[in-house]
């Protein structure tokens, strides 16, 4: 645990320093008022930390809710499709049709049906994450070696025991891969989701400060999104320690 903690802080400091380094370089080279001084921005972040905390918390909760529902729906669906190939043959064409669709285009539709509140925002993030999760979990479950299935048959395991002792641990690395790739897209989509009918969220903060041309506040929001992404990736890295590599 201590080793993980020191690796986390080393990685965090390295991430922040290199981020600030690149930012400072762009600031120095561009000399454009749209790119604020990193040190001024950091100082502004400290003075507005309570507000930033509220915006970051709102975005974090929306993403966590979307992740939670994606796992609840995506993992069983992926396992179900792998267990019943006939069902997979019917559902997969629909999945492949929906998969490349830019989900943000659905936001107006989601808002029409489920209103302007948090539910439609979470639903948008959910629609981005869940399809990827279903496909990766299904593929992961399909790749479980036949010998492992034979082992469970040998011990006369029930369907639930097969799922719990074999399929879930076997697809766990695939769940992490899908989270790793979809969290980036979900964070990017916050801009669209948090642009309407809310006053809290990093997407709202960035877009509203952009329209006010308050670039220091805008970059404070961008920095918070980067930090949030970093923390999510660290959690996935941590969970990966309990996983196996096939």
């Amino acid at each position: 645990m201590n080793q993980y903690r020191s690796s986390f802080f080393r990685s965090l400091s390295l991430g922040i320093l290199s981020y600030l380094g690149v930012w400072y370089l762009i600031y120095f080279v561009s000399q454009n008022h749209a790119i604020p001084d990193p040190l001024v921005t950091i100082s502004n972040m400290w003075t507005t930390k309570e507000v930033l905390f509220l915006h970051t918390s709102a975005s974090t909760l929306r993403i966590l809710a979307a992740l939670f529902f994606s796992i609840i729906v995506g993992v069983p669906t992926g396992i179900l499709l792998s267990t019943y190939p006939q069902l997979d043959r019917i559902i997969s064409p629909l999945l492949y049709f929906l998969y490349p669709l830019p989900k943000v285009a659905l936001l107006p539709v989601l808002m029409l049906f489920w209103g302007l509140g948090d539910f439609s925002k979470i639903l948008l993030l959910f629609s981005i994450i869940v399809l990827q999760m279903i496909v990766l979990v299904r593929d992961g479950a399909n790749r479980i070696p036949k010998n492992y299935q034979k082992t469970m048959t040998n011990f006369h395991a029930s369907t639930w025991q097969r799922i719990y002792y074999l399929m879930l641990p076997a697809v766990f690395p695939h769940i992490l891969v899908s989270l790793r790739t979809s969290i980036g897209i979900a964070l990017a989509s916050l801009f669209f989701a948090e642009n309407y009918a809310t006053q809290y969220g990093l997407g709202y903060l960035i877009l509203s400060s952009w329209t006010k041309m308050d670039y220091v506040e805008m970059f404070s929001g961008i920095f918070c999104i980067a930090l949030l992404g970093f923390l999510f990736f660290q959690v996935i890295d941590f969970l990966e320690r309990f996983s196996y590599r096939s």
């Binding site: 070696p145 010998n147 492992y148 034979k150 082992t151 469970m152 048959t153 040998n154 011990f155 006369h156 395991a157 025991q161 002792y165 074999l166 641990p169 076997a170 766990f172 996983s243 196996y244 096939s246």
Partner: protein, 236 residues
């Protein structure tokens, strides 16, 4: 306790593997099953385990249910995300063995199979011989009345192979289960088997092993003479 094959006939994709086989597997006996490749040695294990059904004929189980029969596979049956301890515990969890007795059971198995120091190690970190010992331990955890082994030492070096053979003999003597070992290694078949079965021309031929009473068989000429005799039987 016995398994009786009556007129067992088996075809797979127009391939005749067994033609009206009659044979009785008896309790507390080690059978080794030899035969050229593709003659259906592993298929016979599948039939005994009821993983597949004979095309004709019946297999009768006396004082035995299919849950009493456990297979130890050739390789890659253990889950790479599990530790040795988790692996030994898996059949106990599946069969709902009392939680309070599980630790003792695992420790006893680990001791018998010299796995005490490896309990917290993950499966991919083990050598071939250690993996096979864990696989045997997993099978024994089910307390089988019949243990089927499909080429249990095929991928091992000589030292590990002999170690596994000694373990199998020791465990069978201690527990008294029926053991049926499929192997392509004639020396192994003669070393392990009290009865040697040769699967050839869609039939089972039985050879009683006269060398089982010898004290130090691996260094006895009679053992190798019988191996040569069996080799001739397999080849002709």
């Amino acid at each position: 306790m016995s398994i009786q094959l009556k007129n067992v006939h088996f075809e797979y994709e127009d391939n005749l593997l067994f033609h009206n086989i009659d044979f009785t597997f008896k309790e507390n006996t080690i059978y080794t099953l030899l035969g050229p490749s593709g003659t259906g040695k592993s298929t016979l294990l599948d039939l005994l385990k009821k993983s597949s059904e004979p095309t004709n004929g019946v297999i009768q189980y006396q004082h035995l249910s299919v849950t009493d029969i456990v297979t130890v596979f050739q390789k890659n049956q253990l889950f790479p995300w599990s530790t040795v301890s988790d692996t030994l515990e898996l059949p106990l969890k599946i069969t709902k063995y009392p939680v309070s007795k599980r630790t003792n059971k695992i420790m006893a198995l680990a001791e018998e199979l010299s796995l005490e120091d490896l309990l917290s190690r993950k499966i991919p970190m083990l050598s071939g011989g250690q993996v096979q010992r864990v696989a045997i331990g997993q099978g024994l955890a089910m307390q089988p009345k019949v243990l089927l082994l499909d080429e249990p030492t095929s991928s091992l070096d000589q030292e590990a192979k002999e170690e596994i053979q000694e373990i199998l003999l020791k465990e069978q003597k201690k527990r008294g289960h029926m053991m049926i070992v499929v192997t392509h290694d004639i020396e192994e078949a003669v070393y392990l088997g009290q009865e040697i079965l040769l699967l050839k021309d869609q039939q089972l031929q039985l050879f009683h092993n006269p060398t089982t009473h010898l004290h130090d068989r691996r260094n006895d000429v009679a053992f190798y003479q019988f191996c040569i005799e069996m080799r001739k039987q397999v080849r002709t």
